[in-house]
Amino acid sequence: MMQISTPFMPEKGVIRSIVPMAQDNYLFEFKTDTDRLAACKPGQFVELWVPGVGECPISVCSGRVTESIQLLVRRAGRVTNALFQMSEGDWAGLRGPYGHGFPVERYKGQNLCMVAGGLGIAPIRSLWQYVLDHRQDFGKVILIYGMRHSDEMLFREELKLLLHRGDIQVFLAADDATVCELPPFAMQVGRVTDMIRQAAIDHDFQVAICGPPVMYKYVIEELKAKHVTDQNIWLSLERQMKCGIGKCGHCFIGGRFTCQAGPVFQLADLKFVPELIECDNGGAQ
């Protein structure tokens, strides 16, 4: 009889560093003994396990995964709360990488616009890091990042460096802003949709989007106004990806498992899918 092992076996990731980001977001760096996660592509995710508490899917936010992997985690539920109690040197379980990330090979040779809202900046960061590592392969590169309040800005230091680079155009917007230490005029009061209107995007751009579910509809409308086609719009969807391997059924959407066919989908592929972005947020904003 063939002996196979369970696909639910995590590997141990020792916390190498914890960097508090804005508000309830920490950047965790894990070190693992194997190179299973080294094949991670921008936009893929891992299942993060806190023993005794549970697992949750977290986007990989580093474009270069070597012996360590970075995860940006917001304290939002049981598992992440428990993770926030941990210290450097503690370990958590990691399974993955899972899913199809952003199709970087298809983006090559083309103009690229990345749109992030709130915590959606995490998978987008893995993309921009990849793109900047292979800058000569891409045309114009634009990054649009919107948040509710400028205090919530994630990767602030890294964004400062990006603002100084000439080969990526960065638009930052917040619904509400206080004084921030970014270069003058870098930050605007407004929404991502306002930034899309300002940016020089036209039909030949590939657009990668990640943000809260409510954001997609408005972003897609703006992109349509810019004549970007459904083939060139890529959405990273959030679902309850419990098993990560297309078995548990939680992340099923429009005939596919988000954990396997996604989480990054081409809009053209999702055109007739009910439940794509409509959802009830329980009255929360």
């Binding site: 696909p7 309850q240 939680h250």
Partner: protein, 350 residues
């Protein structure tokens, strides 16, 4: 066609059973209340309820238990928990449930394969048994009324005898000790066998035309019938554990009080529960009973089309009899959807 078929006299069934029980634990349908049956371990052939049609739970529970430990951790060590399996024999599995097991096999074998399910499946022998449909059976409409695969042995009731089909190598091994009890099937047996299946095909009183089922599901996605049913849906989730092809699960941690050890367990979950599609930040992609009910119906009648392009309803009727709100009558729902769809087509033609 009948060269792998033998005849077992019903009088010799006790011997056959005894021989099976030497191989391992035998599970078979047992009458557990006035109108319900359940797969249970049986010690004697007299405990078996041959008349049983649908058991409360389908036989999936022997390969995919309601809860099972996947791994354990202790002091920083993580270890896979391999299930300890004694060889098990499932007796009396009807064609609909065989089809259901076939679908479960496809799901759990698809990469990455599920070791816990497959280990149990590989140390089992499945003995199918023919049946006559009641008013809730509609396997004929779903094309699962004849046994095609997923069994090692299959018994067809042909009067005073059973026609015993031996399908697999494991089946050959299982019948080897009782070969003296069997005789090769002859022409008369073959006609009795054919007569049984043809009578059975005529015996269905419930069903629908399976044509265009998938497109009707898609076209009638916004039919008002869904809202009417959802108004009555209790979101109790009864329809999912009783379904032979519902396999959604949750992975949970059970920590011990010392805080350093515990286990990770898999438990059956239901798409009818409100939190099933909820993500962090309280976003819920299927907030209402109507969204969840349609989701379940879609899985059964349309299927998870991209990864596995088949419908997953096998027509056993379990959901229909176990729904406390009386809305899981798949046959009536399909008939209603088809009727609306046809009315529209006619209207358009005029």
């Amino acid at each position: 066609m009948m060269d792998h078929c033998f005849v077992l006299a019903k009088d010799s069934f006790a011997e056959f059973f005894k021989s099976l029980s030497k191989l391992g634990r035998v599970y078979a349908p047992v009458k557990v209340s006035y109108q319900s049956y359940s797969f249970r371990q049986v010690e004697s052939h007299e405990q078996i309820a041959f008349e049983a049609l649908r058991t409360i739970l389908p036989p999936k529970k022997y390969f995919y238990p309601t809860q099972e430990t996947i791994l354990r951790y202790n002091d920083g060590q993580i270890e896979e928990h391999k299930p300890e399996i004694d060889f098990q024999i499932l007796f009396g599995v009807h064609p609909c449930d065989l089809a259901g097991l076939g679908i479960m096999d496809t799901i759990f074998t698809a990469g990455p394969a599920d070791s816990h399910y497959l280990t149990r499946r590989q140390s089992s022998l499945i003995v199918g048994l023919s049946c006559m449909p009641d008013k809730h059976c509609f396997c004929q409409s779903m094309g699962t009324d004849c046994p095609e695969s997923g069994y090692d042995l299959f018994l067809t009731d042909i009067g005073d005898d059973y026609l015993l089909e031996v399908r697999t190598a494991a089946g050959v091994k299982a019948v080897d000790p009782i070969m003296p009890l069997l005789r090769a099937a002859g022409q008369d047996d073959e006609s009795r066998y054919k007569a049984f299946w043809s009578n059975r095909a005529q015996a269905f009183t419930n069903g629908f035309k399976p044509d265009n089922l998938r497109s009707v599901m898609a076209i009638e996605w916004d039919n008002k019938i869904w809202d009417e049913m959802a108004d009555r849906c209790l979101s109790c989730g009864n329809c999912t554990p009783v379904c032979p092809t519902c396999y959604c699960f949750d992975l949970v941690d059970i920590a011990s009080l010392n805080g350093t050890s515990g286990e990770r367990r898999r438990e059956w979950d239901s798409c009818q529960f409100v939190g099933f599609a909820q993500v962090a930040g309280n976003y819920n992609f299927r907030p209402g009973p109507v969204d969840r009910l349609k989701f379940w119906y879609r899985h059964k009648l349309h299927g998870f089309d991209d990864p596995f392009g088949f419908q997953t309803c096998v027509g056993c009727g379990r959901c229909t009899v176990s729904c406390p709100a009386g809305i899981d009558d798949i046959v009536s729902v399909v008939q209603a959807l088809q009727a609306t769809n046809q009315a529209k087509t006619k209207h358009d033609a005029n």
